[in-house]
């Protein structure tokens, strides 16, 4: 009995092993050896910031698709972009580093509560109930859906408002996609000014609920010599590229003109006077945090 079982087990093992090894030869799939190397080079956060399902999907795309640039991985930053460019023989390109920004200052505007909300503690859920408990339906709801979504631990909630750590933010954009009120935006880290409100309401409606919010008066639009400010759906939009390209000679006219102080300089040391030719300085990153705090 012992001999039988040992022999039969050994036999079965042997047969399956041989079948499998033959099969692995016959059914072998050639994999691009570069794939492994590129995947190695990526940070492996699988955050989806590159717009692909994960690091491996992006690696496959960047190798096989000539139109996929090597600098899509925001978690990896410029170093990884350079490495990928080397590996795939593509030009690295110098994308402007971005950072997530919260366009809301409801604490300064003393936004009142419409009602007390006791439901599921999530922005998406709260938004479903009469557009959320805040009197302003465009304000930060403060339940931190974005905080939970951020793969890099770069956000936190404090005093009902979300805060972002520019040091930790990799501009993957996960939070931007998560926020049901779309008050988060990716802006270039070097940006000079930003609007601290995202309301799409008309001036009167904003005045009724918030002491700080943007009243859509359009003063900044008229003042900007570079014409990089527009109003889309009653929401101020700044073309940061054009703004940076124009340089400091405008003296941040828009910021000065804003009667509600809702347009603010993001980088206080970078104010005007300097000649146009001086390249915009890479701001030390703490100022974004200071302003958002």
């Amino acid at each position: 009995m012992i001999i039988e079982s040992v022999v039969s087990l050994f036999g079965l093992g042997f047969v399956s092993a041989s079948v499998l090894s033959v099969a692995s030869k016959l059914l072998a799939v050639e994999e691009d050896p570069r794939l492994e190397v590129v995947v190695e080079a990526l940070p492996g956060a699988n955050c989806g910031g590159c717009g692909f399902a994960g690091c491996e999907a992006y690696a496959a795309a960047v190798i096989n698709d000539p139109s996929t640039p090597p600098n899509k991985c925001c978690a990896g930053g410029p170093d990884v972009a350079k490495r990928i460019a080397e590996l795939t023989g593509k030009a690295a390109g110098d994308a402007d580093p971005m950072v997530a920004f919260r366009r809301c200052v409801k604490v300064e505007g003393k936004v009142a509560k419409k009602f007390d909300y006791f439901g599921i503690q999530s922005c998406a859920a709260a938004k479903l109930v009469q557009d959320g408990p805040d009197a302003c339906k465009y304000s930060c709801l403060g339940f931190g859906d974005c905080v939970r979504a951020c793969p890099f631990d770069a956000m936190w909630i404090e005093g009902d408002l979300v805060h972002i750590s520019p040091e930790k933010c990799t501009s993957c954009g996960t939070c931007v996609r998560t926020c049901p009120n779309s008050i988060l935006e990716l802006i270039p880290r070097r940006s000079r000014v930003m609007v601290f409100c995202s309301s799409q309401d008309k001036g009167k409606a904003v005045k009724d609920v918030c002491e700080a919010g943007c009243i859509s008066c359009g003063a900044c639009i008229k003042k900007c010599p570079a014409q990089c400010i527009t109003m889309v759906d009653e929401r101020i939009h700044i073309d940061h590229k054009a703004c940076l390209a124009y340089g400091p000679s405008c003296g941040e006219a828009c910021v000065e003109k804003c009667p509600r102080d809702i347009l603010r300089c993001l980088n206080p040391d970078m104010i005007s006077a300097a000649p146009d030719t001086e390249p915009a300085r890479y701001p030390d990153e703490s100022h974004v945090a200071d302003l958002q705090a």
Binding site: S5, S8, L9, L12, S16, L27, A28, V29, A124
Partner: protein
Amino acid sequence: MEIFLLFISAIFVNNILLAQYLGNCPYLGCSKEKGVAIGMGAAVLFVTVLATVITFLFQKYVMVPFHLQYLQTIFFILVIAALVQFVEMFLKKMVPPLYKSLGIFLPLITTNCAVLGVAILVQRLEFDLVTATLYSIAASLGFLLAIVLMAGIRERFAVTRIPRSMQGVPSGLIMAGIMSLAFLAFKGMIA
């Protein structure tokens, strides 16, 4: 009619997960999202049916003639493990889209006791080949149903406030218990 009863009983009354407690690790591990749960369920369906047929033939034409039935468990484990490996290679080569969508679930199934459970159960119940195949389909449909229901519930959990000590597996286990109890209600359905 008999086939119908077989299906109903395998899916609801003797649900492989909730009444026989087989395959609990994927049930808890892969039920956080509905998409993942469906993928796992489909992979189990696929492998279970194949494994049942092959082990059935193996039992009939190898083990019985040589009087090796006492080695059933270990033989079946070997056969299923080899089969899963083979299926993985085969799919990778022949049906890459399916391979991609099943992904990590295929190798995971090697150690899924529901697959082995069904293969052994059909021997114990002395089914013929056709009934065995149908039973394996029904049993894995039961698995699919249970895991998708569980995923639906756990997706709700994700947006619910749950005390920290209960988050994740603890609440999952309690849910599994409650679902088992709920499925117990089907017991009287088929006399």
